[in-house]
C-alpha cells in the first residue's frame, strides 16, 4: 500500500468525512488479525460506534482496542492443528495483511527490510475493523464461513471483505459465501470478494454472485527486480521479493541438472523437486533450477546459498524465499546455463531486490482468475480489478514472511500478491464511497465503483473484461458517479425466478411473499446490473436487448445525459433507446434499452456505454464473448 493508493490517484490528502468514516465497521473474513501491528494502533480513535453489537474473543494473548473493535474465531469441528493458535490471533499473516490494506492506520517509513519503503495505509484509515477468523492452516470450512456471516450481519458491520473462495463451481445457494453475501445484501451490507488465483484460463472465477462485488488482481506501476550478477560481470534482471543482501559476493554456481541424487537423473533434478538433488553438492552454492519453486519448496536445495529459478512462467507471480532467490526468464536462463557449462569455476551473486517503475501499468495479473461467470454467463464477472501484485502491508512479527518453516526472518510489513490483496483495496474504496453516501445500497456502491473505474487496455489484456471487469478501481471518481444502476432484494429475487428457482425457495430466501409469476420473473438481461455481458456463439448473428434503469445522484438541476457507445471493434452494432435521458430531479429513475446486434469475430469483443452529461461519464462495459 506504500504505492497502490497513490498509483490510483488516491493520495493521503483526499477529501474525507472523518466523523462518518470512523463510524464505518469493516468485517474482514480471513485468518484472524495481529493486534500488535503498528497499523492497528488505536491512538486517536474514539470508542466503538454505538451501532456495534459484536464481541471480542479476549484471551491471554489477544485483546481488541478502539481500532480492532471486534474479533472472533470459528472452528466448528473443535479440532485445532499444531500450526494454529486458538482464538482470533493471526498465525498465518494473511488476515493481518488484508485488514491493514482496508483500514490500517498510517504508518510512515514502513518497508519490508528496506523494500517498498513509504507510508503504509489502509484505504479508510479511520474505519474500524471487526476480524472474523474463519481460515486455519487446513482451510476455511463452509460451516465456519456461514457462522461468521451470521454474526457479522447481526453485529452491525457496514461492509464485508472476503479474500477467500472455493475451488469448484457451485450454484448460488449451495455456496456458503453466496448465501452469506445474499443475507448481507438484504441488510444493506456489501460483500466484496476475491475472484481467485487460478488464471489465466477462462471460467476459473470463484465468487460470482450478482449481489457481491467480485475483484480481480492487477499490477501497480511498481515492481521488484532482483538482479543476478555472474562472475564474468554480466547482469540479468530477474524478479522476486529478495531482502537478502549478499553485498555482491560471488558464490560458486551449480546447475541442479548436473547434481542429481540417485535414483533420479538430470531430467528430474534440474526441476529441483524434493529429494532429487544431491544436497551435499549444493551446500554453500547458488543453485540454478529449471522451474519456479514455491517458498516452501526450496527444501530440495536446503543448505544452498541461493537459488536462481529459470523458466517461462509469468513474471508477475513473485514470492519471497527463505534464501536469496531470483526468477529469470528462459533467455537469461539459457545464458546462465551456457556460462556454467563454459566456465571452470562459475560464480554468481543475487542482489537485494529493488523497486523499479513498471511501464505499461496496470495489467491484470496472470494468476487472477478469469470469467465468464460459470453459472450466469450473461452477468459480467469479475466486476472490477484492484492492485494485487507485490502489495506491502502489515504482517505479524510472529510469522515468517515467506511462510516457509525454515525462514527465520521476521518483519512488520510483508510484500505478497494475490486476488486476496486486490479485494481489500476494493472493499476500502467501497467503504470510502459509503462514507460520503451512508444510505446507498450495496448495488448502488457497486454501480458507483463499476461505472467510474479507470478503463484498462484491451491490447495489454487480451481477455478484456473477462479479466478486469469494468477496469481499475477509481475511489475518488466513485464518490461522484452521476448515475447509479440500483437494485434491491426484490430485483435479485426476480432475477432468481428467471433462473429457475421456485416460488417456495424464494419465499424462504427473502421472506417477502415473492411469487415467480410471469410478471415477476426477470430474465438475466433485465437485472439492473451496471455492466453488459453476452455469451454467444461466434458463428451466430446476435440480437439481444438489455433493459436497465438509472437513478440520478449527480445534479439537483435538470440534467440531460447522452448515450455514447465506445465500440472500437465495429463488429458489433449497439444502439441505445432512448439515446438521451433528461432528469428533472435528484433520485429520479429512468429506463432505457441497449440492443446489441452483429457478430463477433474473435473470442472476446469489448465496447462500452457511456452516459455523458458533460460533467459525469457513467461508463458501463459491454462484452460479447464466444461461449465456446
Amino acid at each position: 500500500t506504500t504505492r497502490s493508493w497513490d498509483f490510483m490517484g488516491f493520495s493521503e490528502q483526499v477529501k474525507r468525512v472523518p466523523a462518518v468514516e470512523s463510524n464505518i465497521i469493516v468485517g474482514v473474513f480471513d485468518s484472524g488479525i495481529w493486534p500488535e501491528s503498528p497499523s492497528f494502533d488505536d491512538a486517536g480513535y474514539g470508542p466503538p460506534p454505538a451501532k456495534w453489537r459484536g464481541r471480542c474473543e479476549v484471551s491471554a494473548n489477544f485483546s481488541c482496542n478502539d481500532k480492532i473493535i471486534g474479533a472472533r474465531s470459528y472452528r466448528s469441528n473443535g479440532k485445532h492443528l499444531e500450526n494454529d493458535i486458538k482464538g482470533p490471533i493471526d498465525s498465518d499473516g494473511h488476515g493481518t495483511h488484508t485488514a491493514s490494506t482496508v483500514a490500517g492506520g498510517l504508518v510512515r517509513q514502513a518497508s519490508m527490510l528496506g523494500l517498498g519503503l513509504g507510508t503504509a495505509r489502509g484505504g479508510v484509515p479511520s474505519a474500524r475493523i471487526a476480524a472474523y477468523k474463519v481460515c486455519w492452516s487446513d482451510g476455511c470450512t463452509d460451516a465456519d464461513i456461514l457462522a461468521a456471516f451470521d454474526d457479522a450481519i447481526a453485529d452491525g458491520v457496514d461492509i464485508i471483505s472476503g479474500s477467500l473462495g472455493g475451488s469448484s463451481v457451485k450454484d448460488y445457494f449451495n455456496d456458503s459465501i453466496a448465501i452469506g453475501s445474499f443475507h448481507a445484501m438484504q441488510k444493506g451490507i456489501l460483500t466484496t470478494l476475491a475472484v481467485g488465483n487460478n488464471g489465466p484460463e477462462f471460467t476459473t472465477i470463484v465468487n460470482f454472485s450478482p449481489w457481491s462485488l467480485s475483484v480481480a488482481a492487477s499490477t501497480t506501476d511498481r515492481k521488484f527486480e532482483t538482479k543476478v550478477k555472474l562472475g564474468d560481470g554480466r547482469e540479468f534482471n530477474g524478479v522476486s521479493v529478495n531482502t537478502f543482501d549478499l553485498n555482491g559476493t560471488q558464490i560458486p554456481l551449480v546447475y541442479a541438472g548436473d547434481i542429481p541424487k540417485a535414483p533420479f537423473d538430470r531430467s528430474v533434478s534440474r526441476m529441483c523437486f524434493e529429494n532429487t538433488v544431491d544436497k551435499e553438492r549444493v551446500k554453500g552454492k547458488i543453485v540454478v533450477c529449471d522451474s519456479l519453486a514455491v517458498p516452501g519448496g526450496v527444501v530440495a536445495v536446503e543448505g544452498a546459498a541461493g537459488i536462481i529459478m529459470q523458466d517461462e512462467s509469468p513474471q508477475d507471480d513473485t514470492n519471497s524465499y527463505p534464501l536469496p532467490a531470483s526468477h529469470v526468464g528462459p533467455k537469461p536462463g539459457a545464458l546462465i546455463l551456457s556460462y556454467i557449462n563454459s566456465t571452470r569455476v562459475p560464480t554468481a551473486s543475487i542482489m537485494k531486490s529493488r523497486g523499479r517503475k513498471r511501464n505499461r501499468a496496470p495489467f491484470v495479473a496472470s494468476f487472477s482468475s478469469r470469467g465468464p461467470n460459470p453459472i450466469t454467463p450473461n452477468i459480467l464477472k469479475p466486476d472490477i480489478s484492484g492492485p494485487g501484485v507485490e502489495i506491502l502491508a502489515a504482517w505479524p512479527s510472529t510469522v515468517s514472511p515467506s511462510g516457509a518453516e525454515e525462514d527465520n526472518k521476521r518483519v512488520l510489513y510483508n510484500v505478497i500478491s494475490g486476488t486476496s490483496m486486490a479485494c481489500p483495496h476494493v472493499t476500502a474504496a467501497a467503504a470510502y464511497v459509503k462514507s460520503f453516501h451512508p444510505t446507498w445500497s450495496p448495488a448502488a456502491l457497486k454501480s458507483a465503483l463499476i461505472t467510474t473505474a479507470f478503463p484498462m487496455s484491451h491490447k495489454r489484456n487480451p481477455d478484456g473484461e473477462l479479466a478486469y471487469g469494468a477496469g481499475h478501481i477509481n475511489p475518488l471518481g466513485a464518490v461522484h458517479p452521476g448515475l447509479i444502476y440500483n437494485a434491491s432484494e426484490t430485483d435479485y429475487v426476480k432475477f432468481l425466478c428467471g433462473q429457475g428457482y421456485s416460488t417456495e425457495s424464494l419465499r424462504r430466501l427473502s421472506d417477502d411473499n415473492a411469487s415467480c409469476s410471469a410478471n415477476n420473473s426477470g430474465t438475466v438481461f433485465e437485472l439492473n446490473y451496471p455492466s453488459f455481458a453476452l455469451s454467444t456463439n461466434a458463428s451466430n448473428p446476435i440480437s439481444q436487448v438489455f433493459r436497465r434503469r438509472v437513478t440520478n445522484v449527480g445534479s439537483s438541476y435538470a440534467t440531460s445525459y447522452k448515450a455514447v457507445i465506445v465500440n472500437p471493434w465495429r463488429d458489433l452494432k449497439i444502439t441505445v433507446k432512448p439515446s438521451v435521458l433528461l432528469f428533472k430531479r435528484l433520485g429520479e429513475e429512468l429506463s432505457f434499452e441497449v440492443r446489441i446486434g452483429g457478430q463477433i469475430r474473435k473470442g472476446v469483443e469489448s465496447a462500452a456505454l457511456v452516459w455523458d452529461d458533460g460533467k459525469h461519464k457513467v461508463r458501463s462495459p459491454i462484452t460479447v464473448f464466444n461461449a465456446n
Binding site: H94, C140, G166
Partner: protein, 83 residues
Amino acid sequence: EDPQKTYIVYMGSHPKGKVSTSSHHIRFLTETIGSNFAPRSLIHSYKRSFNGFVAKLTEAEAKKVSEMEGVISVFPNGKKQLH
C-alpha cells in the same frame, strides 16, 4: 455402511418475527430422521441473521432433509482457501 458427514442445511431467512433456535432444529431433525437422530449430531445453528444449521448426517439422511419443506439446500461442509 453409510458414514456420517458434516452437512450444511440452509433454510433461508428467519420467518418474520420468529427466530429459529437449536431446539427448533433438533425437533426438525428428529421429525425428519426419526428417533435415531442424536441431538449431539447438530453441530451449530445459525440463528442471528438467517436460518440453517450444521449437522452430521448420513447421505440418506441428508437426502431426506433436502426434501423437507422449508429447506432450500443441503450441501457438504466443504473447504475454501485464502486467495
